[in-house]
């Protein structure tokens, strides 16, 4: 069964510094998608970044980048130049694909990121 593990319940980072959030997953599939979602205190989940497993190049979105290690089944999120607005819960998610072509997400338990001024 596919599982997603986030081993850091909480992380802190100083404003303008860099922080890395960890995520590992378990799957027997060879082609899949991985995601990082951000959930601010208002609780609306927002997509931060996505990675396609067949692409070796790590995805980047402005200050957000991932370190995707397919063999190790590791998918960490790096936030550079941290800002106060980055404070939120961050969820790693793995996409399971049905035979019909539709899909669903399996989420990790989340990492709460605190940004210190």
């Amino acid at each position: 069964a596919q599982t997603v593990t986030q081993s850091q319940p909480e992380m802190s980072v100083q404003e303008a510094e860099t922080v890395t959030l960890s995520c590992t997953y378990d799957t027997s599939e060879s082609d899949y998608y991985l995601f990082w979602y951000k959930q601010p205190p208002s609780r609306q989940m927002i997509l931060v970044i996505r990675q396609e497993a067949y692409k070796q190049q790590n995805a980047t979105e402005n200050r957000f980048s991932v370190n995707f290690q397919k063999a190790a089944k590791s998918f960490s999120l790096k936030i550079s130049d941290s800002q106060l607005g980055d404070a939120a819960m961050y969820f790693c998610a793995y996409q399971i694909t049905y035979t019909s072509g539709t899909y669903k997400y399996i989420f990790g338990t989340g990492t709460r990121l605190k940004v210190l001024a």
Partner: protein
């Protein structure tokens, strides 16, 4: 474009009472998802609709939970009767067609407290 709308935002009920949540997805989105997010955990998929058909309801406690999406647009999720362990945030999400390259957009959620 308007996002996913949910109501109510908060609901407090006593155990054994009934409650219903409403979701209006982004216009044109065929796929709709209901998640349960218990405090300290990640969202768990309860049910997924493709238009008005159910794709996956394997984790929906069908003895007390029900959901419908009659015209392939709005959806309601009902709990009857509620238990203490149903206290959670219920998130609705939608995506364009539910295919591999799709992205899910989430609503603000409904926080349910069962006393």
């Amino acid at each position: 474009e308007a996002g996913v709308a949910q109501s109510p935002r908060y609901k407090i009920i006593e155990k054994r009472q009934s409650v219903a949540f409403w979701c209006n997805p982004i216009s044109g989105h065929a796929t709709l998802y209901w998640y349960q997010q218990i405090l300290g955990q990640g969202p768990k998929l309860l049910i997924q609709f493709q238009n008005n058909g159910v794709v996956d309801d394997s984790q929906l406690p069908k003895d007390r939970f029900s959901a419908e999406r009659l015209k392939g647009v709005d959806s309601t999720l009902k709990i009857q009767p509620a238990k203490l362990e149903d206290s959670a945030v219920y998130l609705c999400a939608s995506s364009l067609d539910g295919l591999l390259t799709d992205t899910q957009y989430f609503g603000p959620g409904t926080r349910l407290t069962v006393l």
